[in-house]
Symmetry: C2
Subunit: 466 residues, 2 copies
């Protein structure tokens, strides 16, 4: 193949891989999808990336950037074949400038690695995705990743000051700035956040950083009714307290966790886990207020702790929902479908109630939990992935779930992104403008094609489960 | 003129104005520029705007949206003639949803008006431009306005969740969402922030809101050297304290204020005004730390107050810099040239020192002050606006100022935007991508043409001073 020779000539044979095992292995991410790549390139710097984009452009071959492959919607799956750019080798933290409140990193830097470095200075990069121990900064930018602390700290989009990007037909651009403020033209750096590799390849990022909070405290509130729990969320927010995390778990999730882990969560209809960070003194004051609000909202039992071990245990329980649900259903596993919708905060109880009704209507297991404080829910649908009929039913349920979400003023993805798995349910009005921008920047459609606004038809094709 | 008849037919005669006085008056904003408009339209709703865009598109006539006309770089000046869309009549606060942490407003809502409403609930919309008492939300979004509290609260771009926008050739789009999180495709709503009316017309905005802080305190620190003041800024930031404002004033600005106002600022080389807001208890703790850091950084005198009147007085002094400078120079007034560059925080002293050197080299008065905490400086150049030679000299100085700024890793505009006055000094690398997006969305180039990447040549044409 000409293109492989050209890649080898330009980058060196040690950066280009096309054995069958690699082409197959690089066809997965953490989504339900799989496809086989044509060739894998492991760039070491922006210049390597530039060469690859040039060659891809010349041959009209798809090019898909990949960080740690933790994408849940198929963003890193080479659905049209092509070149996988494995960015993991570009993993240098180039600068930490505390006095300027920014750091400069390559896209392959792992989130936890960056925060370990920043911790030495008493700082951190706040967006905290569930996959933070392994996911890369490049992937976080490409998908606008966030996590449970977004209610207080925002998402990745709020921290990107500047980027180095390779755009087609193969040119390195420096966009944005190293300054905290920027009113100097279109904010292309913010447009890149969430563009999922469909416009250009990020080769460096300048990120705002924040001081680590002094301390945190966590409250656990039990509710006999999901509605009361939702009311509790709205009442906490309206009181002017912004927690650093505010998560909800429904009965199915609580039971699943209690069955598989020794956390001993209260056996009730719904729980809220509410974390507040900040100054030592304010934690106690705010936590007392939060406990009072939960009680006034109908909670029968609220406990508060600032013991690190206890707090760690509670969050371990919350993070254990996903693996626990997979064990809960015997022959069924949890699949990533409709797994991160967002609704306005006050609509959380309506959303969860509707999902429970759909679960009954379709006789399908759906566990619901998530970041209630910022309106971001996770539904996990349990099916036997070898059973085609169950996939079809699941797809119908997904469609109904999104109807509910839109009726509540919500949106298809809060933090995982679109990729393939959510593409058919994107807001139609945005697509036209997105398409115009895409065509203008990537006229040959080589940048991660076939995703987002380009995906047509059913999502239950190219399944990883065979 | 056909187009005027068509506007009148579609919108009603009471919304269309084309008398000479109006066409002249609507040719100003707060910048140094002026041009005469062809017709002024005062829309009442998104549908009116849609009709105007349709007609403008049909005739290929420029269309310039205008809020309160406080733009400092000529964004609202009809440099190519055309239709001025006076958005002031679309001034409804449509929703305040405290429990969802958002509000929905029309673009003509005045910043202070919105915050008066939100205050009833203990909330506010944090970006706080100097012109906040009169400027509109639409203008704030179009220019990514911010102000002195951006170091803690960010800029307008960090608060825009969703927008309703009319794009050419005349269609209403709903982009973004009402949810706090959004990973559902390109963030067109964030691309619109700072686009200065060159892509579409904003007809509604959904904005994130924040709880008002309980209390604030302000410290005033005097320094014998500008460098020490800059060191103080970097030391405060590195300590992990994020003030709610951290402003710097140089000797010229201090003297100008003391001459024209009875504030009694310390007669010294530089002062820092440092504000910290938050919980009652933490203010004192943080303020004591800030005072200590200022002393360690070389400040001879640091005073701290939490008395509302005293704090108000200090900020009045800071806000009095601009009018005071205009009085300072006798026949000279302060003109908006190079007036809001941003540099990395630690480069503030280098920047100010270089500006002072340029002032000497060119024998021209430059006062420097600004939001040192977020690296955003204001330089005010004093000239006699009737004297063409002085303009020419000023333009040369501006060019040298931006060379300094770029060498320090800075950027042309931190909060006022580009318009005409800063266009020649934009980052060249961004322009190519901006142009592609502009052409794709506005192919007939009717949306605020001739600005930003389209401005060619000198900026000292179309001056308002005759």
């Amino acid at each position: 193949m000409d293109i492989i020779e050209e890649l080898e000539d330009n980058l060196g044979k040690n950066k280009v891989f096309y054995d069958n095992a690699s082409k197959y292995a690089y066809g997965f991410d953490a989504s339900i999808h799989h496809a086989v790549a044509d060739v894998i390139v492991k760039p070491k710097n922006a210049n390597d990336v530039k060469e690859v984009v040039k060659i891809a452009y010349k041959y009209g071959m798809p090019i898909i950037a990949r960080g740690a492959g933790t994408a849940l919607s198929g963003q890193a799956v080479p659905i049209k074949g092509g070149i996988i750019l494995d960015m993991a080798g570009m993993d240098k933290i180039k600068e930490v400038r505390i006095e300027n409140l920014y750091c400069v990193v390559e896209p392959g830097v792992i989130y936890a690695q960056l925060n370990n470095e920043l911790k030495k200075y008493g700082f951190f990069f706040p967006p905290s995705p569930g996959s933070g121990d392994v996911c890369t900064i490049g992937g976080m930018i490409a998908t606008n990743a966030s996590g449970m602390r977004a209610i207080k700290y925002g998402a990745t989009r709020d921290y990107v000051l500047g980027l180095q990007v390779v755009f087609p037909p193969g040119k390195i651009y420096r966009i944005g700035t190293s300054t905290l403020k920027n009113a100097s033209g279109y904010q292309i750096e913010r447009l890149m956040v969430g563009s999922e590799g469909t416009l250009g390849i990020i080769t460096e990022a300048t990120l705002r950083i924040s001081p680590l909070p002094e301390k945190r405290g966590v409250a656990l509130a039990s509710f006999d009714s999901l509605y009361d729990a939702g009311k509790g969320v709205a009442n906490i927010i309206s009181s002017g307290i912004i927690p650093s995390a505010l998560d909800i778990m429904d009965k199915i999730c609580i039971q699943a966790v209690n069955k598989s882990m020794k956390i001993g969560l209260p056996d009730t209809e719904a729980i809220l886990i509410i974390e507040k960070d900040g100054k030592r003194r304010e934690i106690k004051e705010d936590m007392e207020k939060i406990v009072r609000i939960c009680k006034e909202s109908g909670s029968k039992k609220v406990e508060f702790t600032d013991d690190e071990k206890e707090m760690e245990k509670l969050w371990r329980g919350r993070k254990g929902v996903l693996p626990s649900l997979s064990r809960y259903g015997k022959d069924k596993i949890s699949v990533s479908l409709a797994d991160d919708m967002a609704v306005p905060i006050s609509k959380i109880p309506d959303a969860v109630k509707s999902f429970q009704e759909l679960s009954k209507k379709y006789n399908i297991l759906i566990g619901t939990y998530g970041h209630a404080g910022d309106g971001n829910l996770h539904t996990k649908i349990l099916i036997n992935p070898k059973d085609k009929e169950q996939w079809k039913k699941a797809e119908k349920v997904v469609d109904e779930i999104y109807k509910v979400v839109y009726n509540l003023g919500g949106i298809v993805s809060g933090e995982h992104g679109i990729g393939i798995s959510k593409a058919p349910w994107m807001v139609k009005e945005n697509l036209n403008i997105m398409k115009k921008i895409k065509d203008a920047i990537d006229p040959k459609n080589i940048m991660n094609p076939g995703k987002m606004m380009e995906w047509k038809g059913s999502i239950i094709t190219n399944l990883r489960y065979r």
